[in-house]
Symmetry: C2
Subunit: 446 residues, 2 copies
């Protein structure tokens, strides 16, 4: 009699970051992963398949035996996908931070009042993200309740884990894209209730404030209360560009640091997802650590619209939780693999520019890979559920094959698991991601 | 009666850099391109197809009408492909410049004495380059004559335009990879003769000196003479890393600039292809311009092995000819599209770091695209033959389709030719390159 509680047994090689050692990549050969029908990992170790079969009573047909060219990694996590700006990607790469916000991001957001347009756009975006291995995305939508709801329906149907929020700003808004504090708050509450009513374990709401400078005290206070009462994260941005920092100090005088502006508004908590954080001091970073804030590092966006250069090493030195984000639109790539490469590139360029170069280590493959998986999970407050292959967590995973037809990766006879993984990390693409699992369910379209 | 002299007529949209304006990308709608049986462009303009058919007497079957999602760009040019190091790509990304040379590049080169290995390796590399749109590559091979000859056979069979050289160093060589000055010279002369005897218009020899520090005066003098007598380019490197610069000044005292070291050896001529040139002064750059030297910019290599940060803007300011190189192996990507993106990334990061940021413009899409096409052609001394769609030049081109099945690019209803091109530039890959032409002949394997 087969145990109806087991849905998948994967045998072969796995690569992940363990909770106990974030500094190294764990290359696990000949392991067995058993996933139950709730999508949770119930066994992950070496073992004897015959013995395990007796114990877990799974069917032969539920066994997936990976080939020697294949391995599994945890699903990739995008901590900041500005969904509305997806059409802007690649096409406005000459614009700078504020110019980009005003002339690209906000008009693109405003357009999402059109639900026909939004539906088509989000179908395209979600498919593209899943194909590229993003199993969890924190989506920032426009201010429109209906647009957010549309996106939620699409992610549920697709089976992607999604955290969705409507972006709020109740002052310093452009004439074509404006709502009052009450509208912003009430529409957010309605969205939170609606998303929670869907009873999907994969769907979560997030509160989104654009910038401290664009939100009133009143809205911030109400959001803080909501976040506390319901245990929902707040995503906002800080210190993205030099111009923004300047305006912040003008608007909030008597603050020595940018973080203190947010801290006074009680916006620095373990439920805060703080994007960018580029133009900060060590004092700022220390406070982010003290408040246990999660940081979303969006290297492609930072460089593409020239906001500034995020020094990941500094944040890791202070043990701040850092995840990766595409910030798609401002960043030109929807792929977290690209974010990994851009994060490493940025960090290496910083290291080259240092006078005492030997004292500064650019982020390693392990650190960048961690940001894309376990680090991202921590930033989103989901590390008890996803981020690596720990038993008890949901099975969110990518089946990688370096030898797939039309692969852009070149492999060689002498490649072991480590080399294969590295080739995927630096040169692989969606073609090498031959299956995508969220909570044990295969969701990649082929 | 059809004219046997015409082999291809392409109708639709084209994108290139014109000779007269390197600062802008020319987006050419509804143009007609007529290519003769020698692979040369004999007509390129708007025009009436019926009239042109009367004039050029081509067959209906020779007409390729591009769809609205398609366009053509000139073939991409790789000015520095260190072919031997291809297997090292992606897998040694923690190593730095000299460490990488000694422990990765040289052992990989040394292995090319094994012709079986070399044959398989080069088959893989050339296919991969062509699939990624590299119509012309300047390949640096190992010191082994037979390995170079093997590569030549493969590029001829594949139909790729190739410039091939055996890398020479006759001092400061490791024990496992060594030849005398005479061996280096004689083997090079033999290679030049052999490559020229193939009577392939697509195959050219290049003389390759690794570094001034690893070559004797005797070899340099002989190479200079050979280059002059036969009109062959010399490829060498300069100022790749800070350590290298230090050694150069120790070995060649009484030089105020690095370029003066090469200039005294008569190594700065219009036939010189100088890779890297990272750690240079404005005085150096001025001399490179005065001598009309071509520079091969390899951004992925520079950053990956942390050699340094090449400031493309400075070289463009002095009107130095700059092309792009993958420096594959040290760089992790075989794709010139990647080189374009990495060049832009590097330049944007430099611009962000500038105090007087507004006075410094990072390189534009046009400048990066130029480096990948016409700029590369100039560096290799081939701009009379390739680099753009000027009549009289060879038809080396890529047929791009943004809407191909499984495309990683997302296009939108409002995209015009400019947007499509930009999406390809930043997000496209080999799947969007649906055909590759060299001298009028289709060479992409599908």
């Amino acid at each position: 009699m087969a145990n109806a509680n087991i849905q998948l047994v994967v045998v072969g090689n796995f690569v992940h970051i363990s909770e106990t050692n974030c500094q190294e990549i764990a290359y696990l050969h000949d392991h067995i992963m058993i996933v139950n029908t709730s999508g949770k990992i119930v066994f992950f170790d070496r073992g004897n398949l015959t013995d395990l079969r007796k114990e877990y009573q799974f069917n032969e047909k539920d066994i997936l035996a990976m080939t020697s060219g294949q391995f599994m990694i945890p699903g990739l996590i995008d901590t900041r996908a500005t969904a509305t700006c997806f059409p802007m990607a690649c096409t406005h790469m000459d614009k700078k931070s504020f110019d980009w916000l005003e002339n690209c991001a906000l008009p693109a957001e405003a357009q999402c009042f059109d639900l026909n347009y939004t539906e088509r756009l989000m179908q395209k975006l979600v498919k593209c993200m899943v194909d590229n291995g993003t199993t969890t995305a924190c989506y920032l939508m426009s201010m429109h309740f209906d647009a957010c709801s549309t996106l939620a329906n699409i992610t549920i149907k697709k089976g992607q884990r999604a955290i969705i929020g409507k972006t709020c700003m109740d002052r310093n808004s452009p004439y074509f894209y404006f709502e009052t504090s009450n509208q912003a708050y009430e529409s957010t509450v309605r969205l939170v209730r609606t998303l929670r009513s869907r009873v999907s374990p994969l769907l979560m709401p997030v509160l989104v404030l654009r910038l401290r400078q664009t939100t009133t005290e009143k809205l911030v206070q109400k959001f803080n209360q909501l976040s506390k009462d319901l245990g929902i994260c707040i995503q906002t941005t800080m210190a993205q560009s030099a111009e923004e920092v300047k305006i912040a100090f003008e608007m909030f005088p008597n603050n020595k640091t940018y973080t203190s502006i947010l801290d006074k508004a009680s916006l620095l908590t373990p439920r805060t997802i703080l994007a960018h954080c580029i133009h900060v001091t060590e004092e700022d970073i220390q406070l982010l650590k003290d408040r246990n804030v999660g940081v979303s590092h969006c290297p492609n966006s930072n460089i593409s619209i020239r906001s500034g250069i995020f020094d990941a090493r500094k944040f890791l030195k202070y043990n701040v939780n850092v995840g990766l984000g595409t910030d798609i639109g401002a960043g030109y790539s929807v792929s977290i693999l690209n974010a990994i490469r851009m994060a490493i590139t940025t960090s290496k360029i910083i290291s080259i520019g240092k006078v005492k170069e030997t004292a500064y280590q650019p982020i390693s493959n392990a650190e960048a890979f961690c940001m894309a998986t376990l680090g991202g999970a921590k930033v989103l407050g989901l590390d008890k559920r996803i981020g690596n292959f720990q038993t008890g967590k949901d099975f969110d995973a990518l089946l990688i094959d370096c030898n797939v037809d039309n692969s852009v990766i070149s492999t060689f006879d002498f490649d072991g698991l480590e080399e294969k993984f590295q080739r995927f990390l630096y040169a692989g693409d969606d073609r090498n991601i031959i299956n995508v699992y969220v909570a044990g369910k295969s969701i990649k379209s082929n």
